[in-house]
């Protein structure tokens, strides 16, 4: 459109056209202002603060890389990071183990499919904080559901406090997160399944391929991008986990379930070591940006196809 204006109109119109285009800047200005003030500036500040000793009150002082050196010796942070990765791997496997069968179950329109899909998805629209509060009640030893029910059914000799030791507490969180997130992952996987041409599957059936062979040779390769997306969303979300560990476990028992974000929160807003918190944040940020770059690479269009 712009080029037509240039060739068919005198120079005066050309200036008018480009002036008209400048108006676009006004339209995007509010958005840019928000992003600069509340994102770009804080991001730059994080980098700067990480090089300073920065208490909540009083003057901050430049300390160079001291905060980063301190991180190397901060075994509690590395334990938190280790726990975060462990949690991420376990919960991602668990989510996929539930979400993939559900996606296959609701993929094709059959009677009542929409109703089932809605039911599976309901927990996903509830917030993480609400879900955590809900489960902290269900998991409570005296007033909750699971321990008293197990006791009443005679499965346990006395009421077991599920949140008192690491293993049951950890797996309770996994159960809660799978309940909350599986529906979401299911929808994403469903879009991938639906994008596979039906005639491809039918041709494979005619060629005598069994369901397992079809799944491996057709479904999985053609779903590569969707799988990568669901995987990255789950991994990134889990690495940033905070709400459920803060609300249900308070990082316990014995600080064994402190996640990376939880540790940064403690350093920054409980101990008020803002500079050190910023340096920890930079480490987290690098991990997440690296993940995003992997994501972009995994989601690239296959060669020759566009």
């Amino acid at each position: 459109m712009a080029s037509i204006a240039v060739t068919s109109a005198p120079a005066r119109t050309r200036t008018a056209t480009s002036l008209r285009q400048w108006i676009g800047l006004l339209y995007v200005l509010p958005a840019v202002a928000f992003v600069v003030v509340f994102f770009v500036v804080p991001l730059g500040m994080t980098a700067w603060m990480s090089l300073n000793n920065w208490p909540l009150m009083g003057e901050h002082s430049f300390v160079g890389l001291d905060n980063y050196v301190a991180i190397l010796r901060d075994t509690r942070f590395w334990n938190a990071l280790k726990f975060t990765f462990y949690y991420t791997v376990v919960v991602t496997i668990a989510i996929f183990a539930v979400a993939f069968p559900l996606a296959i179950f609701i993929e094709r329109p059959r009677p009542l499919t929409n109703l089932y899909r809605t039911a599976f998805f309901m927990p996903a629209v509830v917030g993480f904080a609400s879900a955590s509060l809900l489960w902290s009640w269900l998991l409570n030893v005296d007033s909750g559901l699971f321990s008293p029910a197990a006791y009443d059914l005679g499965l346990t000799a006395k009421k077991v406090n599920l949140l008192a030791t690491f293993q049951p507490a950890f797996w309770s969180i996994i159960a809660m997160v799978v309940w909350k997130v599986a529906g979401f992952t299911m929808i994403i996987l469903m879009t991938g399944l639906q994008s596979i041409p039906q005639d491809l599957q039918e041709a494979a059936v005619i060629d005598g391929a069994g369901p397992f062979a079809r799944f491996r040779a057709i479904t999985l390769p053609l779903m590569r991008r969707t799988l990568a997306l669901a995987l990255i969303l789950s991994v990134a979300g889990s690495i940033l986990a905070f709400d459920q560990f803060y609300i249900i476990l308070r990082g316990g028992p014995r600080n064994q379930t402190l996640t990376a974000v939880y540790w940064i929160f403690n350093q920054s807003f409980v101990s008020f070591k803002l500079g050190y918190g910023a340096a920890l944040s930079m480490v987290l940020l690098v991990i997440l940006v690296a993940l995003s770059l992997i994501q972009l690479w995994l989601l690239r269009k296959p060669e020759g196809l566009d």
Partner: protein, 285 residues
């Protein structure tokens, strides 16, 4: 004979499918239903394990009343949450509709740079820049205000909603605009009268995501709102559940969780089409 066999197999398949569907549905819905039913027990009964989940000693709304007696009360936090969520919706819709239109219809210097800048913020976890956000808000005099929290929530919504809106505007044929321009419409009338009705589904989608995002957000609200009168529902309920107001009243916790969940569930059920659409847009691109 063979036909009867296949009829039987079909019926068996259908039966297996529906039993699986029903059992899985019950598993996913049970915690929600269990909680909502339990809130209507009298306080005494709500302290006991929820077996059965429905009230056995009479229907009561005592739990909701107790909830209102903690600190500034549930209603104050609910008002904060409603205000923050509604303002986040209005502001993020306004900003993203303008930006989406600008990015879609104009060619100005640095256009692609600004677009990539906004979109790339999605790569960086906001959890890692919370401390400076806190300092920026203090500098702007927005420390511990709901306005400050709204600004943060709007910024977090922008990458998704501007992406959605730009695509929505891109899908509108240019002929429509040119016809309107012939009729003498200027940029603003064009946007409001001609374009907005055509991108309406996109607007509902981003409004829905903005509401759910703001209503459910926890960490930023926990860090940025230090005054109890400014607490949103998740922060208030967590304070209550942690025993900050004395012994934990589980009946009140259930009631609070219900108040937090129900708006999300109703909005989702009413606007499901738009929600899935938003998910797909995010998933396919």
């Amino acid at each position: 004979m063979a036909e009867a066999m296949s009829q039987n197999r079909k019926a068996a398949f259908s039966l297996a499918r529906h039993s699986t569907g029903i059992i899985a549905s019950v598993l996913f819905l049970a915690p929600i239903v269990w909680t909502v039913l339990s809130t209507f027990k009298p306080a005494q009964e709500a302290r006991q394990p929820p077996l059965p989940p429905w009230p056995t000693t009479g229907f009561s709304i005592e739990n909701y009343e107790t909830l209102n007696s903690f600190g500034d009360g549930l209603w104050a936090s609910a008002q904060n949450s409603i205000y923050v969520s509604v303002m986040t919706v209005l502001l993020s819709v306004l900003v993203s509709v303008l930006a989406g239109y600008g990015f879609s219809r104009f060619r100005f210097p640095f256009r692609d740079f600004f677009f990539v800048l906004i979109l790339s913020t999605i790569m960086i976890p906001f959890q890692s820049i919370l401390t400076p956000i806190f300092l920026v808000l203090t500098r702007l005099g927005l420390h511990n205000t709901l306005t400050g929290l709204i600004c943060v929530y709007v910024t977090l919504q922008l990458p998704f909603s501007i992406f959605m809106m730009r695509n929505a505007f891109d899908a509108v044929p240019r002929e429509i605009e040119e016809a309107a321009r012939m009729d003498g419409a200027n940029n603003v009338t064009m946007l409001i009268k001609v374009m907005l009705p055509l991108v309406w589904p996109g607007v509902i989608t981003i409004a829905l995501f903005a509401f759910l995002g703001a209503w459910n957000e926890f960490l930023a609200a926990l860090v940025l709102m230090t005054d109890q009168s400014k607490f949103t529902l998740p922060v208030m309920m967590t304070a209550l559940q942690s025993g900050r107001f004395g012994a934990i009243d589980w009946g009140a916790v259930q009631a609070g969780v219900t108040v937090m969940m129900v708006p999300c569930l109703i909005l989702f059920l009413a606007l499901q089409r738009f929600y899935i659409r938003g998910l797909m847009a995010g998933a396919v691109k």
